[in-house]
Subunit: 204 residues, 2 copies
DNA sequence: CATCTATACGGAACAATGTTCCGGATATCA
DNA sequence: TGATATCCGGAACATTGTTCCGTATAGATG
């Protein structure tokens, strides 16, 4: 992260990656690392040792740290990637499903995302400044994704009007929070209620 | 934690503490450790190293681990103690203040408790089984504490009726959650609103 | 195809921290 | 005062995040 002080590099190349020249093995390893991290985080939680991830990726720890200078950078990258995947699903559902079904399908996708990211929630609450930007990214990607489906459904008269995507996201996330007295199917039931509520006052 | 397998110990003495005979220095050290832990957790967060706590208590790590076999046991003990302190304050306020003022004073105390235990919230959300019982203890102590004050205030006609202590606790805790766009005085303002709401429909 | 160099890799080594172990100190009792 | 159950201190061990550097190699060049 040290920048050379020559007069010509204030605008252009600092690192090979930024010059667009990345060795093929580097790119491949970065991909392996991300896949491995997702797998290990899913099975052992976000607190899994870095070495486990490196081993799963078939790579040394040095390589891991070359791509992700801090452990939190890896966590961040995985989160970002999964937020993206969830957001991108909206476009697919919007294309392939009826307006209301698209909203419903996406909300289920969203619940699944939230439920598998419990350890991550802990990281957020920990106050580690490395994760400060995540909530903003979460909102930046997921809000428009849902709002688009909502607008389409409202335009089609399939759901009531005046719904705020952010409020739905927050509410659904909140009842996905862990509780000791309810079963794992609880969030799904609550979401069903929610979705029925959405269309209860639909004009059409 | 290993129990000897003799036939006579199924009902009685297993450890000297359970026989009621604890050496004075042991009891004193346990107290020092708790005080030290509270101080260190408050200044460096709940992730502070065990050695720091031992040093603050003027004690070796071995001693710390004798009293708290796991790090989480120490955290647990501190939490329990602070929950107790908060709950016990209700009796004091109930004795010394007018019914409504008692409720108000305790709610402020509760907010203060919640605000200083942010790192702890992270521990809870982490899913570590060591902390599984904490929410139940939280509810067991705090619910009756507030309910008592609420009942007294309602009986005196100082607040509206039908309030559920648990709902108030949950709601207040929820707006004490960290948010990046509000100042530190936000919870206090919200609580003020809440308290005004409490007496708005009071009969007297 | 051979050579060369910037780039990337692997894993040993280091540092911080939770946990265990045991020789020695000491409170308590007779 | 002496015996002994109990407790203490801190060195040692295990795990995990992070750094370092000698080695390997992708990709360019001839």
């Amino acid at each position: 992260m040290v920048r050379e002080t020559g007069p010509e590099d204030t605008t252009a190349e600092a690192t090979p990656a930024e010059r667009g020249r990345v060795r093929a093995d580097a790119r491949r390893n970065l991909d392996e690392l991300l896949k491995a991290a997702m797998k290990v985080f899913a099975s052992k939680g976000v607190d899994a040792p870095v070495r486990d991830i490196a081993k799963e990726a078939g790579v040394g720890v040095g390589t891991l740290y070359r791509h992700f200078p801090q452990r939190s950078d890896l966590v961040l990258a995985v989160c970002t990637r999964e937020i993206d995947a969830c957001a991108d699903a909206a476009a697919t559902f919007g294309d392939e499903l009826q307006p209301f079904e698209a909203v419903s399908a996406w909300m289920n996708r969203y619940v699944q995302f939230i439920m598998t990211k419990r350890g991550l929630a802990a990281a957020l609450y920990s106050g580690d400044p490395a994760y400060q930007g995540l909530p903003a990214y979460f909102e930046k990607r997921l809000h428009p994704a849902l709002q688009g489906l909502l607008d389409a459904a409202e335009a089609a008269g399939a759901i009531r009007s005046g719904l705020k995507a952010n409020e739905l996201l927050r509410a659904v996330a909140s009842f996905c929070a862990p509780a000791q007295d309810v079963g794992p199917e609880y969030p799904a039931r609550m979401l069903e209620l929610f979705m029925d509520g959405l269309r209860y006052r639909a004009p059409a």
